[in-house]
Symmetry: C2
Subunit: 314 residues, 2 copies
């Protein structure tokens, strides 16, 4: 793009040119709203923001704006996965920092568009503003509910077995920018299992499990030796002289699925899904409240340490 082609309207014109119309989107980019035709009358809606200095560093957009754009869409897609839903359409608002070039914008959008295409999600609209202090991207995704019902955080029951996909911890070494939302895995799980509760791990295994426990009014016991610890968690633990298990428990941004199934269905949970992603049974849901860790030395209560944003006190 030349300097004369860098206005908001020209960027939108370029985005329209690389975003062909879709069958189920009778009105797409360029009108006041997009119009979307659904297969059913029950839908999912989610918004997530991805902010420079919080979810990625300025160096990331300077060197690989594609990854930042991809992550901004991947985060809400991961939430659609956590409900066992199917994404349909996304709308995007972007506040560009003053230093952002038209080429950066093109690369940012290219990263988003690649992931959107991978999951048959149409980018149907957006809003661009310029002159921000930092890059701020909000993405809202419209999805279709699973026909077997939405899998919420509140469905865990005492006696449920507790599972996670993938390996956990150390996402700061790179996975937080390049993870694949577990859409396919969630649809496969919902197809073959009576899922009781599900959440995606963004705040950390312990913190997100605690959300499920709070919403379901139950407790849980984790088995220390069953938690799948990633190579990245081990590497971070070595750097910081910590314990790999702590990183698997408390590092955020794994974007894996944490789910429960009734005890008797536990043996039907595959060790590996069609995509090659591993599934691990890590514990069980208890009627007694609280979160417990069990290892060779016994059982102890644990406190989630996942990151909590704070606003200034009044």
């Amino acid at each position: 793009m030349s300097a004369s082609e860098t206005s908001e309207f020209n960027i939108i014109r370029w985005i329209r040119s690389v975003t062909p119309p879709a069958r189920n989107v009778p009105v797409g980019i360029g009108d006041d709203c997009a119009a979307i035709v659904l297969d059913c009358r029950r839908c999912l809606l989610k918004i997530d923001q991805t902010v420079e200095g919080i979810h990625f560093q300025a160096a990331a957009w300077r060197s690989m704006p594609e990854h930042v754009g991809r992550k901004a869409l991947a985060r809400p897609l991961s939430d659609i996965a956590a409900m066992a839903g199917k994404p349909l359409a996304a709308v995007i608002s972007v506040l560009l920092p003053a230093l952002f070039t038209a080429e950066d914008t093109r690369r940012l959008y290219t990263g988003m568009k690649g992931l959107a295409d991978e999951f048959d999600t149409n980018i149907v609209g957006g809003d661009i503003a310029c002159g921000g202090d930092r890059l701020v991207i909000s993405v809202s995704v419209l999805g279709e509910s699973n026909k077997r019902g939405d899998v919420t955080r509140s469905g865990a029951r005492p006696g449920d077995a507790l599972f996670v996909t993938g390996e956990l911890g150390g996402s700061i070494l790179g996975k937080h920018l390049t993870f694949t939302p577990r859409i396919r895995e969630a649809l496969e799980l919902a197809e073959i299992l009576p899922l009781h509760a599900m959440i995606d791990i963004s705040d950390g295994l312990a913190a997100d499990l605690q959300h499920v426990l709070d919403e379901s009014g139950v407790g849980a016991v984790l088995r220390a030796d069953s938690i799948p610890i990633s190579e990245a968690a081990r590497a971070v633990a070595r750097q910081r002289e910590g314990h790999p298990l702590d990183h698997a428990l408390d590092d955020g941004e794994d974007y894996e699925l944490l789910f429960t199934v009734p005890g008797p269905a536990a043996e039907r949970v595959p060790k590996e899904l069609a995509s090659g992603v591993r599934v691990s049974c890590i514990g069980e849901i208890t009627s007694a409240p609280g979160l417990w860790m069990e290892d060779a030395s016994g059982r102890r209560a644990i406190q989630p340490k996942g990151w909590v944003h704070r606003v200034g006190a009044p």
Copy 2:
């Protein structure tokens, strides 16, 4: 709220407590996604961001965060109106500046919630992050398409009569923060008239009319003495020694509706809608391209001056 209650999770808990469940929202705030049941399978989706320093000044959130919250929701609602749609649900992402207090957040949300209730729109989810340099709010609204069809920007035809609601210009004096999205007016117009094209005036009458002309492949003639000039436009013109008509043409953020109907239907357009909002016929659509202004001295081509965001050249 006390200082100990100011974390993101406590704010979300407070928001949940003042946002009761709705019949058509089986899963609301607090899960990975919201689930919404629609009356039909065709829906509308829109996102708009409202940014400190662009859409309001820091003084506005310091003195009246309710107005800023209200505006952040009103902007995408105005786009739903522009399609003659009915809003159903909204999700909100907020990046709070470091100085923002929990009380500011509560007041911001109270302003949004008041407007949402006025238009039967459920706030079903959101994302809060802290420590920004400035307040940035993105709101995505899900709506239902009008059963008579979506009214797009591309439907204007030669011979159509051109109308606007309300009075135009000078919104900077206050209306840009307090306007009411023309949802009711758009639904009434769609009920009684064969609307060809519609848009909400956010960039300015001339600039938004130009969008309709570009998308429809037509031109238009405006009649200078028919354009409804607001008192605020006259006041701003006096302050700046300009012409009131220029402010009505080029000031942004009126959030009134601009629409076209086939010529023969023009006489059926009411002078005033049920809400008391005035409607003015301001010109007509031509097959010849271009935008023209007609007054006692003749006809001259005009150029939209509406504000265009620019990103830095690469």
